[in-house]
Amino acid sequence: MEAVGELTTEKSLDSAGAKFIAGGTNLIDLMKENVERPGRLVDINHLPLNTIEEIEDGGLRLDALVSNADTAYHPLVEQRYPLLSQTILAGASPQLRNMATNGGNLFQRTRCYYFYDTAMPCNKREPGQNAGPSGCGAIGGYNRIHAILGTTEGTEDGQSQCIATYPSDMAVALAALEAVIRVTGPNGERTIPIGEFHRLPGQEPQRDNTLEPGEIVTAIDLPAPRFVDNHMYLKLRDRASYAFALVSVAVGLEMEGDVVKDVRIALGGVAHKPWRKPEAEALLVGKTATKENFRPVADSLLEGAVGYGHNTFKIELAHRAIIRALGQAAKLEPTA
């Protein structure tokens, strides 16, 4: 990690707006649209962060620079974390998955139309710069792809600043698998649980995650395999491939006969981060896997969900998707 350490303390990064670039599948697009204007690009592709290795406690370390494609098709990932494989392959296109890296995937920026269009107001792109009632173009605008959960949490006045969603598929599975993000920075190495890596917009919608300045993701650690037999990533979208999720659900179940011993559920396409709620999951533990028992779990997961007009349908759609994905993971339903 010496090379990485040197890089993160290098002076070049102090200059305003330096950015790391790996696959560049999102950053380059954003630069073309003048949304990202880095003063300097630091190519990190030469860093020795390109293996997938077993770690102690039976887990697996996915280095940051391994491509999404190589990760999804890695034998150990396919055998031990089929949920992750399935999820990665539900995202983007083969071309993009060949270029995109695991580390970069965590830093995908939202697909919010207003964020992408510099002629439109956006608190994420230009925090505190925008006039109008909210400063967010999507609120009151065309918001079919936007968030229904966690949009007001942490705001001073209960008024949302941003209803963008975090678009990654991969991270939704990582949330269900309770991955840990390894980070190196000026103050050394640290680990961040995936659930604390991304954040809700609150009063600082410009911040997508909890990384500190100068920090870099070096790897994603997966804990010992779970949910090999009972898992599902259900992605609902406007076309069958190369489209971001309107709603997605990653489910992992530990079953004993037809009884649920443990469960993890993460939602994508509904919030500023992969959405998990342990209290909702707990409702299913010790219960028989039936539609009737899934329903309260979906109710609980979507508690407090708010629609903004065009996206209000997501509340009902997510509810149905959760029940379906649980049923599929429990093998009550076909997965086709």
Partner: protein, 750 residues
């Protein structure tokens, strides 16, 4: 024999395309090229009060920033800005003045030594607006709709005829009625190739005159040439437009786009060659399929005879032009009725003018009428194919009750239904199920489009090597023009197709109309046939004059043209080869240029159309509402099929487009800003491979001696027309829910 018409010849331009040799407008290079980048307006309506280009101009390598304040003078009058496809009104003039009339309007052009520099400099141009409220929501302004102004384009895209009988009363009196309201959003063409122009600037004389060679993305090089010469007051001998390959058009290239104007303006001012390419986002800043709201009210007798036909449409247009398309007439071309009202109105909004987009108006109106008929059939308890046979039109009531030049639609129904297995349909909604949660739906619809022929010219040259070179300034937007024209020429001349080359897309070639309306096969094909027939006569005359010619006493009707020779019919061993004829001509190539004109006198007695029947199977998840088109059959009556391979490809393309149109395509506007928000191909969805399953095409036999000498009708649009209605009808059959608006995204079924 050289009978190649009707053979599945592979595309003659295929190798060029797959090896990357085929060059598109933005790929032509010249020394000392400069690069442009367009700055687009961020507001939909108002005035530019200040535009500051200092920072951009201060960068080394930035040559100029053109704005309304410093643009050169161009033609005064609207007429000079009218291209061949211009509707009534005042065409848009880039950088004309400080007014902003739609969001995304070009308001400045940066020209620099590199593309990257131009793009960066464009981001430094500061604009201050005095914004005014804009109105872009058609549904909010329906009561202000008005009649469109007439324009010459309405010869091809007729406005509705006068009402027939009393359709209001007939509707009230009808024992079976249906009425519904259909809303279509905006769609953008989005060909893969972005709009681009490269202007090669060459001065001559005392450096004060210039000759421009313009590589333009267009569906008609002559149209771009006309536009440039009129606006910039240039002689056509100084403006050559070249466009050998077009990376998709779908109608977007029927009118010159603003990058052509801007690139020519900049080249002339800077006396440099300029390349200007629009971005994908800027592909949402010009023509599009307009938003349309339709109402259909039908009445029928209890036996299933249509007794009242009301079809009304209101479409959006810009503040500066009355773009029109034929939306409602099709209903009455398809279904005869004594009491008919067809109505088409416009509402001007703060948007750019709409533009013909694959089956313009046709697919819009067809979706409404064919969904309405399906709904009526449910009320009647009648099979939708049976209804269509019972109400089959033998005359065109919208056009003086003329008979059809040919119409094998019955065969489309019969063969299409059989191939699809329509008889296995249980008509009750939600009655057919697939695996798991999948509901299965079968739907069908009729499609119709024009079979037009326009005037065109072509040149044919028998070269000194005995090869044939044929040319016409038409386009090949991926449709197969290169291939079918080579076939027509080869067969007409009696030559192997390998010895024939067809060229297009250059204003130095004989004039042809813009490539649209499904008329190129018919129009340019006829010109190619005519010029080859003329060339044959010349060759024959020359052959007869040869010393000791075995054909000296033969007449034209005594000979046949085969295998590169003229042979006596009754003794084919007596022959004179084309090569020898060239020799007789002193070793010089022999050429002819001919004009082909439609036989108006004969054609105007008939209504001329292509027809289709589409049968579609969908699977709809009853809880999640995801829709999959699992199977579709299109039966096409399109006259003579010149090449089954390229023809099938055309129809498949139309069917795929229909799936996108029905389920995905939607340029979503935020009406507070009058701006399309999903302006990129990640968020504006068109089908991907994973969306496309089993598509089947069949051509029914159709002979037509009226449409043109070749009997060909054109296939560019007909594959699309019936698909959205057939899909919508299948979705109803699967779910029992009738979705009237397109696209049918899953939330519309919730």
């Amino acid at each position: 024999m050289n009978n190649v018409i009707g053979k599945p010849i592979t595309r003659v331009d295929g190798p060029e395309k797959v090896t990357g040799k085929a060059k598109y407008a933005a790929e032509f290079n010249v020394p000392d090229l400069t690069y442009g980048y367009v700055v687009s307006s961020g507001i939909a309506k108002g005035k530019i009060t200040h535009i500051d280009t200092t920072e951009a101009l201060a960068l080394a390598g930035v040559l100029q920033v053109f704005t309304h304040e410093n643009r050169p003078h161009t033609a005064w009058f609207d007429i000079s800005y009218k291209d061949q496809d211009a509707p009534a009104g005042s065409p848009f003039r880039p950088l004309h003045n400080a007014d902003v009339t739609y969001s995304g309007q070009p308001i400045a052009l940066v020209v620099a030594e590199t593309f990257e520099l131009a793009r960066y400099a464009a981001s430094l141009v500061k604009v201050v607006y005095d914004a005014k409220p804009s109105h872009t929501d058609l549904e909010a302004h329906l009561s202000e709709a008005r009649d469109p102004q007439w324009a010459p384009t309405n010869f091809l895209k007729p406005l509705p005829p006068k009402p027939r009988g009393d359709s209001k009363q007939a509707f009230l009196d009808a024992p079976v009625q249906m009425a519904a309201h259909y809303v279509h959003g905006v769609q953008h063409h989005n060909p893969l190739e972005m709009f681009a122009t490269m202007v090669q600037y060459e001065s001559y004389g005392n450096e004060d005159k210039a000759r421009l060679t313009i590589y333009d993305k267009t569906q008609g090089a002559p149209n771009s040439q006309l536009y440039v010469t009129q606006i910039f007051g240039m002689s056509s001998s100084d403006v050559r437009v070249v466009s050998p390959y077009v990376g998709g058009g779908f109608g977007s290239g029927l009118r010159p786009q603003y990058q052509l104007f801007l690139a020519v303006m900049a080249a002339r001012e800077l006396k440099r060659s300029v390349r200007l390419t629009l971005t994908r986002q800027q592909m949402w800043t010009f023509g599009h399929r307009p938003a349309t709201v339709q109402t259909v009210a039908l009445g029928a007798s209890s036996e299933g005879k249509l007794t009242a036909l009301n079809h009304k449409a209101i479409a959006a247009t810009s503040q500066f032009e009355d773009y029109t398309e034929t939306v409602v007439n099709w209903s009455n071309v398809l279904y005869p009725c004594d009491d008919v009202t067809l109505e088409y109105k416009l509402k001007s909004l703060d948007i750019y003018s709409p533009l013909d987009m694959r089956a313009p108006g046709g697919v819009t109106g067809d979706h409404a009428i064919e969904s309405a008929i399906d709904e009526l059939c449910y009320k009647l308890g009648m099979d939708p194919v049976e209804f269509r046979l019972k109400n089959y039109s033998e005359i065109d009531q919208t056009d003086k009750d003329k008979p059809f030049s040919s119409k094998e639609l019955r065969e489309c129904f019969r063969q299409g239904a059989e191939r699809f297995g329509w008889d296995k349909r249980n008509p009750t909604p939600r009655s057919m199920r697939g695996e798991g949660h999948n509901l299965i739906g079968y739907g069908m619809a009729t499609g119709i489009w024009d079979a037009s022929q326009m005037p065109a010219r072509a040149e044919a040259v028998l070269t000194v090597n005995g090869k044939l070179r044929v040319s016409s300034a038409t386009a090949d937007i991926g449709t197969g023009t290169y291939t079918i024209m080579a076939q027509i020429a080869a067969e007409t001349m009696g030559m192997p197709i390998e010895d024939v080359i067809f060229r297009l897309g250059d204003t130095d070639m004989p004039l042809a109309p813009i490539q649209g309306g499904s008329w190129t096969a018919s129009t340019v094909g006829s010109a190619v046939k005519t010029v080859c027939d003329d060339l044959k006569k010349t060759l024959f005359k020359t052959a007869r004059k040869m010393a000791g010619s075995p054909l000296a006493k033969a007449k034209l009707e005594d000979v046949l043209f085969d295998d590169g020779s003229i042979k006596l019919k009754n003794d084919p061993s007596v022959a004179v080869s084309f090569i020898d004829i060239v020799g007789q001509n002193g070793g010089r190539a022999i050429s002819e240029t001919s004009t082909s004109l439609p036989d108006m006198l004969n054609q105007k007695k008939y209504s001329r159309h292509t027809h289709s029947a589409a049968f579609v199977e969908v699977q709809v998840d009853e809880e999640l509402n995801t829709i999959k088109v699992t199977r579709a059959v299109s039966a096409i009556a399109g006259g003579r099929i010149l090449n089954p391979r390229t023809a099938r490809s055309q129809i498949i393309g139309g069917m795929v487009w229909g799936i996108g149109s029905a389920l995905q395509e939607d340029s979503a506007m935020d009406h507070r800003y009058g701006r399309f928000m999903n302006h990129n191909l990640a968020e504006y969805h068109v089908p991907v491979f994973a969306d496309i399953h089993d598509l089947d095409v069949l051509f029914v036999e159709e002979h037509d001696e009226i449409v043109n000498p070749l009997g060909v009708k054109g296939l560019g649009e007909i594959g699309l027309v019936a698909m959205p209605a057939a899909i919508a009808n299948a979705v109803f059959h699967a779910t029992g829910k009738r979705v009237y608006d397109l696209p049918i995204q899953l939330d519309r079924l919730l």
